[in-house]
């Protein structure tokens, strides 16, 4: 299990380090007219060929050279998912720069922190909104020299900051540079080494300020070999015939892997969703074959199915309900067999396919999904079981920015529900006997946190073991079950260790519960703050003739309390006495990134919540 980065990354004949850049360049040479990307603009999925993709990326690289980017310089990208994100990423890596992704939802203060912390020289901002954030805090970012904007609307002719440059201007600059120095970029590419840092991925920062995870060319190549070409997730491995929908933020390691790396290494056709709000429609259009989602997405789709089923005509409702119950049984069997069909389930599924599953999956946009994965946060097993039951090969996977998303995955046919799967080949994984912390070691382990050597030392042993911060255990010696984040573990006043995320996820599996935060550290018993799902509860209220005005009003209805009490009671029945939620209170508002309650990845900031809603919590204990 020794690292062999050098041998792996240097291709025999040329001696040039393989990077995602050379991979895309090779594809552009081999299949110039093949479709690399699709972007929906003006109602049409406009195709980008490999030749055009590489051409843009190369132009960006030339432009960066023309702007004086030296190896190791940071280039920040602040945009929704779109082809330009990939052009910028590839161009940066080709120029041996470091790509820094910013979440589109980052408020100005966080933009300031990220730009200053990373010391980015150039910012590529999507539109006026993102540009305004950057300009508002430009004084705090002394290194920022150029700002490139993609959408000229509202900017052109109104802003006269000397640092501004439009995207076409950037490309024109690159074209000029290419005409003068046609092989400048090729020389940079040839000079790349596996040790080059190619991207900074900022952690979501549930506890403190975000930290920039340095991933090197070697890290990413290892991840590509394990996850993509090695078929670490899918079986058979992804290919040019696969379609993916890119809709989660590209600054997150998971989406970067499923969009940029899958595309570059395996030729998976990437389709950019119009926005996070149009996923349902875009899914139906694209019908991807490989689909990665975070638990929030899977929960939401499941809730949609329940709403739509309840509001269907009686005949449809009856038939769908019947077949969804059968799907539940199929799911149960699949859970027992690890995802392999038995003759009985196959027969049952075939019948259900005619009446329900085919059209249901078509409606969900998952008719052709051959591999679905959930990751980045814990998910309730019941949600996964639903998808397995209707015939979607659903797998929970596990990884983090610090190990380039390479750790464990449930393999097709060897799925064990409630676990995050088995370690990938080439990955060393152990569980600390004293603390139960999961530790990994492999060539994908990151190079360190950007500018935070002490934080790096906290998580990275001298002998290369990465402390994940997750507490877990081995199931049957093969599969890893994660209990919770180490720092989230609740120790009650009675001295009992409780993993809140398990209880929270069981609550969130209900279509009516959107957020659940279990509290009880140093307390006599557990309580929960619950945020209702406004769509489903609203629909539920409408059908019962309960009138309401706002989110808060809906939350405070006695009927809603009864509804959620039912959910809580049901969940409580599955847990031991000490793990039961004794009381709960409703969050008076929807949690939001802007207000500092959620991270950019929609994870709850526990400490912030506990402080913001202190009176609610105290109220529950006072009674």
């Amino acid at each position: 299990m020794t690292a062999t980065i050098g041998e792996r990354d240097v291709s025999g004949e040329t001696g040039i380090t393989t990077t995602i850049v050379t991979r895309v360049r090779d594809r552009a040479l081999a299949t110039p007219e093949g479709v690399a990307l699709r972007n929906k603009d003006l109602g049409i999925w406009q195709e980008v060929t490999w030749a055009a993709y590489w051409d843009r990326a190369e132009l960006v690289a030339h432009a960066l050279l023309a702007l004086g980017v030296e190896p190791g310089d940071r280039i920040a990208v602040h945009s929704e998912n779109r082809p330009e994100w990939l052009y910028a990423d590839l161009g940066t890596v080709a120029a041996r720069g470091v790509t820094v992704g910013l979440y589109p939802t980052n408020p100005a203060a966080e933009v300031a922190y990220l730009l200053a912390d990373s010391g980015s020289k150039i910012l590529i901002a999507e539109d006026q909104e993102q540009l305004d954030k950057a300009l508002a805090v430009a004084d705090e970012c002394p290194d920022l020299r150029h700002i490139v904007y993609l959408e000229p609307r509202g900017i052109r002719g109104r802003y006269d900051d000397p640092r501004l440059m439009s995207w076409p201007e950037l490309l024109a600059l690159g074209a000029g540079h290419r005409a003068e120095h046609p092989d400048a970029v090729d020389r940079r590419i040839a000079a790349a080494t596996p040790g080059d840092v190619m991207t900074l991925i900022y952690t979501s920062g549930t506890t403190g300020p975000p930290k920039g995870v340095m991933l090197t060319v070697g890290n990413v190549e290892f991840a590509v070999e394990v996850l993509v070409t090695g078929g670490g997730f899918t079986s058979p491995p992804p290919s040019e015939r696969d379609l993916a929908l890119s809709y989660l933020p590209l600054c997150h390691v998971a989406e970067r892997a499923f969009t940029v790396w899958f595309n570059a290494a395996a030729g998976v056709q990437v389709n950019f969703a119009e926005s996070i709000d149009t996923i349902q429609a875009n899914l139906r259009e694209v019908q991807p074959t490989i689909l990665f989602g975070v638990p929030r997405i899977w929960e939401k789709v499941l809730a949609q199915v329940n709403i739509k089923q309840d509001s269907a005509t009686p005949v449809k409702r009856l038939i769908t309900r019947f077949w969804l119950r059968r799907a539940d049984r199929i799911g149960d069997t699949l859970v027992r067999t690890g995802g392999r069909h038995t003759a009985g389930t196959r027969l049952l599924y075939a019948a259900g396919w005619v009446f329900c599953y085919r059209s249901l999956r078509e409606r969900l946009g998952m008719r052709r999904v051959r591999y679905a994965a959930s990751g980045a946060a814990p998910i309730a097993p019941d949600v996964l079981k639903f998808y397995m039951g209707i015939g979607i090969a659903m797998h929970e996977v596990y990884g983090m920015s610090e190990n380039t998303a390479v750790a464990t995955a449930n393999r097709p046919g060897r799925v064990r529900l409630g676990t995050v799967g088995e370690p990938h080949p080439g990955v060393e994984l152990k569980i600390d006997e004293a603390t139960g912390e999961i530790m990994t070691r492999h060539p994908g382990t990151f190079a360190g946190y950007w500018g935070k050597s002490r934080a790096t030392a906290d998580v990275l042993d001298p002998d290369g073991w990465l402390h994940t911060g997750d507490v877990g255990e081995l199931v049957d010696g093969t599969h890893v079950r994660i209990t919770d984040r180490m720092k989230d573990i609740i120790i009650t006043a009675g001295g009992k260790n409780i993993a809140p995320s398990e209880i929270e996820n069981a609550l969130k599996a209900s279509p009516y519960v959107k957020e659940a935060v279990v509290i009880g550290d140093q307390r006599p018993h557990l309580v929960a703050l619950i945020g209702i799902e406004p769509d489903t509860v609203g629909e539920w209220a409408r059908r019962r003739g309960i009138t309401y005005t706002t989110y808060r009003d809906l939350s405070e209805k006695p009927e809603t309390r009864e509804l959620v009490q039912g959910v809580v009671d049901e969940v409580n029945a599955r847990f031991a006495r000490v793990e039961q939620v004794k009381r709960f209170a409703f969050l008076p508002k929807e949690l939001d990134h802007e207000d500092g309650e959620l991270t950019a990845t929609q994870k709850v900031k526990r400490s912030a919540i506990a402080k913001l809603f202190e009176d609610l919590v105290e109220g529950m204990y006072a009674r």
Binding site: W45, K308, K316, R363
Partner: protein, 388 residues
């Protein structure tokens, strides 16, 4: 390594459009506007439409001559209904004067193809490829002449003005005996002749009815495709914009007068062609037939079939035309209803009541007509397993 062409187009949107390859198994994923606007955009539509056309053609050998004659008449009425649908359905301009334009077409065709030197005007040009376009063009010219009046009016006022046309026409055609032969007498209708070969006689292609059936079917397909094509074009979108709100359309830059004139012109062209063809089957035109009743019948076809859909207009025309032979068969089934016009209740009264009843029922329960019923059935399965 890469093409040099990119340097020049860096200022324009950087994604090549125009290429159109479909992605297998993704009917909703359009990679070009041509795909998005295709008349038959899914394999299912292509196959079902193809089968329908094949079936229609094979009916010419499967059905008895009597039924073919009825169907041929229905097809011609369908052409007229499509015409009315263009001005009333797509462009939203209520026209009760459709019978007037049908009459102009019928008499233009009859006059052109009639024998010279007879009781009525005749020029002896019996070639269908001359008199059919001529009938359409003369009717279209009349439509364009009337249109400027219509462009100034809306809704009820427009309906009244076009209604006036029918009465004007009725009077003129009754009095102009050298053209029409006068009321109760009539004249010989246009003779369909194609390159010297008479289409309304038994011949090598089949019986008279079979040949006429095929002729009408081919023409209907041609007119229907043309109308569908028009509806999805810039012109069609302009029509729809005017229908939905003419002031808003004008604000968006749709020239109202031009498009209203165009709508009347095209609609009248269809009416004229239908008029020229309609009487070749019976071989005889009587000026009294171009009454308000005919206009109402066309309106009924459009309403029952489905407003602003070509297939709806065809379905409506077929429905109305086929209703007649069905009601005629009633006396043998229901003894109370008599086939004799002097007794009450008789078939003709039942028929009139039925028309009225159908229009009322459709307007109340399914304003989108037969096409709406089809859409409803289709959506039921399309939205499976949900309801929306």
């Amino acid at each position: 390594m890469t093409e040099v062409k990119s340097a020049a187009d860096t200022t324009v949107p950087d994604i090549p459009t125009g290429r159109s390859r479909r992605v297998r198994g993704r009917p909703l994923l359009y990679t070009s506007y041509a795909q998005d606007m295709a008349l038959l955009d899914t394999p299912a539509k292509r196959i079902s439409t193809g089968l329908l056309v094949v079936l229609a053609f094979s009916l010419s050998v499967l059905l008895a001559d009597r039924s073919l004659e009825v169907l041929a008449g229905a097809y011609v009425l369908a052409i007229g209904a499509i015409g009315l649908n263009i001005v009333t359905g797509y462009a939203g301009q209520v026209s009760l004067g459709h019978a007037f334009f049908v009459a102009i077409g019928a008499y233009t065709a009859a006059a052109l193809s009639g024998p010279p030197g007879g009781d009525t005007i005749g020029y002896g040009v019996a070639e269908i490829w001359i008199w059919l376009p001529a009938a359409g063009l003369v009717a279209a010219a009349a439509g364009v002449l009337v249109a400027p009046l219509a462009t100034r009016l809306r809704g009820l006022y427009l309906a009244i003005v076009t209604l006036g046309l029918v009465f004007l026409g009725e009077h003129v055609f009754k009095e102009w005996q050298s053209l029409t032969g006068g009321p109760g007498v009539g004249r010989e209708a246009a003779v369909p002749r194609l390159f010297g070969y008479r289409l309304n006689e038994d011949g090598p292609l089949g019986t008279k009815e079979q040949v006429l059936y095929l002729l009408m079917l081919v023409l209907l397909v041609a007119f229907a495709v043309a109308a569908r094509n028009l509806a999805r074009s810039r012109v069609g979108r302009a029509f729809a914009a005017i229908r939905d709100r003419d002031i808003a359309a004008e604000v968006m830059g749709v020239p109202l007068t031009r498009y209203k004139v165009l709508a009347f012109g095209i609609s009248s062209f269809y009416a004229g062609c239908a008029g020229g063809l309609l009487y070749t089957i019976s071989g005889y035109v009587e000026p009294g037939s171009f009454s308000l009743l005919m206009s109402v019948q066309f309106i009924a076809m459009v309403l029952i079939g489905g407003v602003a859909t070509v297939s709806g207009a065809v379905a409506g025309a077929l429905f109305i035309s086929l209703l007649q032979p069905l009601t005629r068969a009633l006396p043998s089934l229901v003894p109370v209803i008599s086939a004799d016009t002097t007794q009450t209740p008789n078939v003709f009264q039942v028929e009139t009541v039925l028309y009225g009843l159908l229009i009322v029922l459709f307007l109340v329960f399914e304003p989108r007509g037969l096409f709406g019923l089809w859409v409803r059935a289709r959506n039921y399965w399309k939205t499976w397993p949900f309801s929306y």
